[in-house]
Subunit: 768 residues, 2 copies
């Protein structure tokens, strides 16, 4: 563990005490978002110390020109960057002529931050003594509205402690911002209009190349002693900023405050010429309601989210705080309203990893969103990939594939590839299988087949075609092989016959063909449309099946396990336990070649396949593979421990399962990887949720029904989670004594618990 | 073939006609060098069309900060760049107030370039009509002196054709130059002093970071109608240039000329404070001799080089021109006088490929230099690596090796690694074996064992230690394996058990241990010193031998060939002949993953091993391996065809051998790879020489003697080459009728011809 300053609390993230060394970490940890926009917890007032400024708008990106040492054919020319957007939160504060700046104050005391996850707001308070001797108390409360998702609100309060003072609040908008992550120091934003009127101001700017137009707006109200003051602001502007200055005389002990409503309207959602009007309208709506009323709505909205998504843990406050932080951040990042958006790996908390979408979404996030939201959310996530199908076909063409074969990008924003290491971009192709798996998973969970004839089958065909063409026939083995890949374990590159990839490829073809038949039989007009569009022939289908039927899987008779790849047993099989601690994490201590020839596994690979296709294998087979691979797994990916946790639980190894759980749930809060400054690991947070619900709770879908095998770590008294299953809510409470199920819905539900059938009636509780 | 404008000629490279599209290519092809410096064939006068300016000083480089898309542990922080050096060749020419610029002239006729390889000079002549209507004839002759290797000389002659004119010659020095190849647009040179005196001028500048100090100097003489004129020049300077202007009145039909001596003195060879004096002295020495006398010396010096190095071909002028161009360029690049220098892949003809030294030197160049120069030259090349041993040990340490294991860099200038693709830098480790092989080859050829106890054994121990640590034990195979490598065939990355690498590793250990014993027995004081320094123990030696003895070699019983690597037979084994022509060259047409999973071989890999260790295998084995691998070889490396040519000749497949020969010998002249603009492929030129001497001539060392199996392509009447063997010169003439040997020396020489012994007496000729 690398830092431990966050106070344990069931519902809040709390920091106490001011430490300049922690500012950037806290800026990440206290980030707020509402699905449409988000921001790091930067200070409103000026701060001259080390800080990482960031405010982000969902779906707005910049195509930065790719930078590589050595170009390889097929690399994407551009690389979508998450963009730092114009700053609307800034409020300069001057007290008796001195600008408030915590980095240059005489003293800062009682510094406290709280991110209230239950209610969705962030508050910072402190006392400061300025260089001019004035002592003030500050409290600033901020939230991004879930109801008006183009609006954020700040209430910034200043109370002079030791003398009467003159306070100048200067709320401003600034589009002269830069990205930390830029390849060529390009200019990302072009500001083309500024305007102001009374207490409002607007900046119109557009992103270079992509031409997203954004109106950044603000509307301010000032108060002294809780009474609204009509102060006419002094205006200052230049090409990229607008300042409005409010001068106030404030008596000692009285409070001056400014309420600033701000945010973005974007050409993704409005006509370009309407952006200012839209901004004016929504800001007026917010200010008419007022800060408190808007905050009440915020609390209600979050309450609704928690109603479905919460996991309550009794008897372990740090575990409780961890899981709620994960659930909270996932909901801040993506609410599922807009099929053009997705779940960025850093959400709205940093710039790293250009692009927003990894296979993480399909493999880890969809189960979370399916169980905690309406099923339309998961369907929107699937639709996102459907909308990118043409780009995936183009992407495959760049690599030499033909005839509608689709290769989904490793990372993307708009469907184009945003990654450029050959061993990943060109070779980590298993990601493609996750697209089909997510469709299967969606149907399995929701029972909604309609997505497949409407959209899903086309994706499946593109993916199956890719595998068909990508596999090659080995005369030597008399089998189809898949050469030159990188599996989920990125500590192996350019390997042959990665078991996970081969298994997934075969499954994708089989499942696609199965659905082609079903759609042909049951959805003939869809079938006709799809066949016309894809020009799929029976001959091609037969040839696909030939590949699937003769797929090669590396296997060790001696160990009775499938091998992660050809040649795995040639490695020096020294377990992680036997590796000197000074050598870890190996990705920081070892050169890449050494990592590659070692047996160490960055994240579940063969076991990832056992997780996804658990019912294809016996428990004994799972145990054999777990016992073989787990000792070599270093879990240096944030996505790794959750799969191991779920499998350890399935194998009744609860101590191990609990250890893995702890590792995933407080990854960012305790900064295990020493990089929280750069932002949070959003997508892996869904894995944490899975560790509890699928791991401890044992949730599966069996025979079209929910199935549970509830277990509980000995460290906990109990835990409760909810799942939305086909529009009914099932509340599950697991304690050391037993498990109870409570159905909120209107139809009887048959479930399995530990393999036995139970019938649950609406609004009734059963205990097992 | 992509261009064909060079006129066939036995001794010269000739271009006729002016074509702006060819300027950059010709700048490469007509490059001149003298081992200490070199330059592209840029025009002396101003030229505003597309040009690639380049002048280079041996051993002077800049450590550019590494640029990669994604950093990996172990990458070198800096990357030595070949540096464009201050321009000393420039002579602006103004005729009646108009600056001569071929890109902006009314017409250019009779344009001709000649690079006279026999005599070592470059001449350009043309007639131009200026925009002001003046017609002039120009002839410019240039060479870099072999005798005074800090001096170059230019004679630039202008003859007005249609009127009397005023001509202004403005010879200049300019250190305000830039590199085309720079990662971060750093400033590479810092100019800190300029001076001039009479007809001379000097610029003192130093390279940033590396602080090589260079004095660039010039000394001019002007003539009208071949009579020296004492014209006092007008001087113009700024921070980075000095112009001297000479105004001359020239009558129609008379010739005005300027002779400019210029060049560099460098802190590698002089004290920093003596640089200007050294420059003054050497330029004065040159001008005292005069242009013609210095040119005579140049002709004599080249005559001496050719006496040893020439290969004469009768009956095939293009083949003749090709081989002489190769021999000429190798000698322009490296003359073997200075053990701090090496043979850069682009010599003095371009900037590409930072660093100067690849394993090309050990594998391809050393045989050429051993046979065509005094053996001290090859010894200097070996010493270069000995001087870098400490850096090679550091380099290995960066990758996690210990205890004096040495990994020589893939590319280097000063011993540090200059390459940063993980699959090459960290994995193309076979290069390390070439260091030991070159020592073995040197001893085999020269009979000089003294290098081994003095220096070579330490290198061999460092290399053997590396292989010892790099190999790992496979319990599954009960053998030592070498995982995660890139072989000479760079179209395979991160493969396991590359046969060439494994074979070389075993051989390096065996040969090292053999020499440890020999040095122990015969050079006890050297032995003591080496053991003290390396701390080598018997235990370590035994452990090394254990690895060598149990090394694994992939083999196919079915095909009866060693496999290039594990899993090679899993590929789709479609031969190059069956590959559609539109797909080639695959490195331009295919994405990297597709290349990697294909069977196509960029350059000899398994066959490279058969070339180096030919006597370990039978001719039948060679044939089997050649027949197996040749059909998959695409020869997309300039280093590839020569090995195949030699082996085809050994297998009596002369048509094939001849085809391969043609491909290598005119690679640059005919611009096969469409990139000659960037510079020439210097190191592969040694392979062309090998194709004739070792291929057609069949030169080998057997039982400490020269052995030949002379063959001749049916297209040729005859060919002649010389070899320096242990300080005697053997001239070999092969014709369709037979082979004759002529020994210039003082001792009888026993040789084998087609396996039979022959005795050759000094200064006698025998015909076989």
């Amino acid at each position: 563990m690398n830092q431990d300053y966050i106070k344990p609390d069931n519902w809040s993230i709390i920091e106490e005490g001011f430490d300049v060394e922690r500012v950037k970490s806290s800026e990440s940890l206290f980030s707020i978002g509402n699905g449409a926009m988000g921001q790091r917890a930067n200070f409103e007032e000026a701060y001259s110390g080390p800080t990482f400024q960031g405010s982000y708008i969902a779906g707005v990106y910049y195509p930065d020109k790719t930078k590589v040492g050595w170009w390889k054919n097929g690399y994407p020319e551009y690389f979508a960057k998450v963009l730092n957007a114009p700053n609307w939160i800034g409020i300069n504060v001057t007290i008796n002529g001195e600008k408030l700046d915590l980095y240059r104050s005489k003293s800062v005391t009682n510094f406290r931050r709280e991110l209230n996850m239950k209610e969705g707001w962030y508050k910072r308070s402190f006392n400061a003594v300025l260089m001019n001797g004035v002592e003030i108390a500050i409290e600033s409360t901020r939230f991004l509205s879930l109801d008006l998702d183009e609006v954020g609100a700040i209430r910034y309060e200043v109370t002079p402690i030791n003398q009467d003072v003159e306070i100048v609040f200067t709320p401003y908008l600034d589009s002269g911002i830069t990205n930390e992550d830029t390849n060529w120091d390009d200019k990302f934003w072009d500001t083309y209009d500024l305007s102001h009127s009374g207490d409002s101001a607007y900046i119109l700017s557009k992103t270079m190349k992509t031409e997203f137009h954004v109106c950044t707006g603000m509307l301010n109200q000032v108060f002294v002693d809780h009474t609204k003051k009509d102060v006419y602001p002094k205006v200052e502007t230049n090409g990229t900023y607008v300042n409005l200055s409010y001068e106030l005389e404030v008596a000692k002990g009285k409070t001056a405050s400014i309420v600033k409503f701000g945010g973005y309207t974007v050409s993704l959602n409005h006509k370009q010429e309407d952006l200012v009007t839209a901004s004016t309208t929504v800001l007026k709506q917010a200010s008419d309601s007022g800060f408190d009323a808007l905050l009440d709505l915020q609390k209600q909205a979050w309450s609704k989210i928690w109603e479905m998504a919460d996991i309550a843990i009794e008897g372990d406050v740090k575990a409780q705080q961890g899981i709620r932080f994960n659930i909270f951040q996932l909901n801040q990042t993506y609410l599922g309203k807009d099929p053009r958006l997705n779940i960025g790996p850093k959400g709205f908390t940093g710039e790293k990893y250009g692009g927003s979408t990894y296979w993480d979404t399909e493999a880890y996030c969809i189960p979370f969103y399916m169980a905690t939201k309406d099923q339309v959310v998961a369907r929107n996530l699937l639709t996102y990939r459907y909308q990118h199908l043409d780009k995936a076909i183009e992407n495959a063409e760049k690599l030499g594939f033909t005839n509608g074969a689709a290769l989904y990008p490793m990372v993307t924003m708009n469907g184009e590839e945003c990654h450029n290491e050959w061993e990943i971009t060109f070779e980590e192709i298993h990601r493609n299988g996750a697209m089909t798996f997510a469709i299967y998973n969606y149907h399995r969970y929701t029972g909604d087949y309609s997505y497949i004839p409407e959209k899903g089958l086309e994706v499946m065909i593109g993916v199956a075609r890719f595998w068909h063409q990508r596999a090659t026939f080995s005369t030597d083995k008399n089998k189809y092989v898949i050469l030159g890949v990188t599996g989920p374990n990125e500590y192996e590159n350019n390997i042959n016959n990665n078991w996970y990839t081969n298994y997934l490829a075969k499954w994708c073809i089989d499942y696609c063909v199965e659905n082609i038949k079903k759609v042909k039989d049951e959805y003939s007009s869809d079938y006709k449309r799809i066949i016309e569009k894809t020009k799929l022939t029976q001959e091609e289908i037969d040839s696909m099946l030939e590949v699937a039927n003769k797929m090669y899987f590396p296997y060790s008779e001696k160990h009775q396990v499938y091998l992660q790849q050809d040649g795995f047993l040639d490695k020096e099989l020294i377990t992680v336990a036997d590796l000197d601690k000074s050598q870890r994490p190996i990705n920081q201590k070892w050169s890449w070649d050494r990592i590659l020839r070692s047996p160490y596994i960055k994240q579940a690979d063969t076991l990832q396949g056992f997780y996804m296709f658990e019912d294809h294998f016996t428990k004994e087979e799972l145990a054999k593979h777990f016992d073989f691979y787990e000792p070599f797994t270093v879990h240096e990916s944030s996505l790794s421990p959750c799969v191991h946790s779920i499998q350890a639980a399935a194998l009744d190894r609860m101590d191990q399962a609990y250890t893995f759980y702890l590792r995933t749930s407080r990854l960012d809060l305790d900064d295990y990887n020493k990089e929280v400054e750069e932002g949070l690991h959003i997508t892996s947070m869904a894995g944490t949720w899975m560790s509890i619900v699928e791991g401890f709770g044992g949730l599966r879908i069996k025979n079209d029904r929910l199935s549970f095998t509830p277990k509980i770590p000995k460290e906990w008294k109990g835990y409760t989670f909810n799942v939305n299953f086909r529009n009914q809510i099932l509340k599950v409470n697991v304690s050391q004594q037993g498990t109870s199920f409570n159905l909120e819905g209107d139809q009887e539900l048959m479930i399995y618990v530990d393999g036995k059938e139970f019938k649950i009636s609406p609004d009734s509780l059963i205990t097992v």
